[in-house]
Amino acid sequence: MAEYISNFLYSVIRISTPIIFVAICSTLSAQAGLLNMAGESMMLAASFAGVVFSALFHDVWLGIIMGAAVAVIITLIICFAAFVMKVDLYLMSISMNMALGGGVIFVMWVMTGTKANTAGAINGLSLGNINIPLIEKIPILGTILSGHNVFTYLAILATFIVWFLLYRTKLGLRIRAIGQNPKAAESVGINTNKIYTIAFVIAAIVGSLGGMYLSMGYQSFFSKGITGSRGFIGMAAATIGNSQPFGALLMSFVFGLAYAASNYLQTVVNDSYLLMSLPFVLSTIIYLFISGYRTKAEDRMKKKKARQLALLHSELPTLNKE
């Protein structure tokens, strides 16, 4: 039983990894005040480019760097469209997701002649699992926490790095300032478009790792529909986690749990489609519930502040007399 549970928790962490990356990616842009709908396209572009370039250079890390670079280029196109050409950001992101969904398959067809996956045609390299020296020895915790893919540890590391970036650096302060009130930030001389673009580029690098985990860690090839709307699940996770890196991390594990449960329950419940919808249903419900709660809390806060202000005003004349 203990082995069963520890295996289950191990797979929760394994499945959560791409969601963590995208959630952190969305967190960064959400802190800048913009919803990053393009997480899906960053994942798609990077997961394919990573496989191709790692096969081309015979080097995993070079492949990963090139994959991230491709994601950055895609993001720069989106930023150019949104901030310079004034296309609606959401519209551009959605159409970019759609375009890359087809475009990646088109490029795959040009390169390999098939539209299903790159297995066999392109020998992409992938990162292996690593054992952590000390934790490995602990009985149950060792099997849960150790022996994961390199990307999984990178995801945890990315969470810390992004937290440090947001709360301990000048750039992070600017990103948060723009997120709070872009006009005020602009009035004190912050170039908003520049900061938006920087935030998006960093987000793209983080998000691209999530895509590359899928094609270079979880499995060793790229296949059609590899991301499976994880970009949006990650975005929901970031929003539910109040756009805090660690909140997003926590919520990613919750959704990873749902995914893992839907895998494990397949032996018990004999309806695979209902199970496949489980993570999506769960994320919708939690997302709607938390959003509603936050909106209500905000309203209450506003009313309270208004009452305090009214009270202050009614007391003012008496204060003046004294």
Binding site: L35, I94, S95, A99, G101, F106, Y273, S277, S291, G292
Partner: protein, 385 residues
Amino acid sequence: MKASDKDSKPIVMSALGNRDSTMKKIQRIDYLYEALRVVLGILIAYALCLVIIVLLTGVDGWKDALYNFAVGPFTTTRRFAQVLSRMAPYMLVGCGMCFVYASGRFSVISEGIINIAPVPIILVMFNTSFGLNIMPGLPKIVNQLILIVTCGATGAVIAMIPAYGREKLGASETVTSIVLNSVCVYIALALIRNFAADRTQSFIATPNYPASIRFARYFGNTNLSEGIWVAVIGVIIACVIFYRTKLGAEIRITGANPTFAKYAGINTSITPFMGQVLGGIFAGVAGAVENFGAYNQYQMTMLTNIGMDGLIIAVMAKKHPIFVPITAFVLAYIRTAASVLNTNTKIPIELVTMLQAVIIFFVAAEEFLGKSRQRAIIKASRAEA
């Protein structure tokens, strides 16, 4: 005093009249440039398509490939019927998306609605005595009305989820709708498999629809069905609602300027909600037309991309339902051209999907041709002054 009054009045009048005509001229320039952007965007994407096709097919086959892509859809009745049959759901979803997009929201739930909208009526059709015994005996037109109404109602109910989430709970409707799209596909498949599946098929599908509960095909066995008339009526209804009713005006105003709408006394949370529900109804009807017209049985196992195409159609039509038939035709033509090309040269249909972003980029970019427009406006105002 009086004399000066008399003198000044005509001058003021003429100045006002002057400004009025200048405004009109500027407006005309604006419209012209908007139209130019749409046409140029489509042409650039189309030209890119042609270039890529030429590059891929090489020296030998490029003439054939180009011919297949450019003229192919018009060569046989079957292919042209295919264009029109694609156009039918496109027109409906496009009109629905106009309402959603015009109210300033990006709910792409239409995508999932196409899949799930026909499911309730299919369950009734194959499970209840009403569906099995009474419905096949009813006149065809009554059945078609039942299909349209139930699918539209299902669409409305599904569309309410992201709309309610946005207007009452403050959740982004885009996120909810995209996540819900996956839910729609899986739930629809689960329901069909458990309650209405044809066990003799190797894949998940219902038995064939009875001939009286569907839209009959035209020209023998093409995909074009009577559903096209539903689409035509749908566009007319959409135009009436959009341009001639209070709700339509409120939707347009709220989308254009929410703050103004609020101070003009428009309820800025109900209006976009209604816009999204209308979008859901139209998407539901599109689902009916697609499922009961172009298919003989329910066999959708993944998202159809019709909803996303609807968004592109609405963007190309600049949120005006009246232009939707044109843009729906353009997209249907391009899609059919790609599938004709695919059968002849194996170049995948995804080529077109990829270039849709190019179209969106040029059509929706406010700054594309912005400087030239500015110059034209300045020139026009100077000429008047």
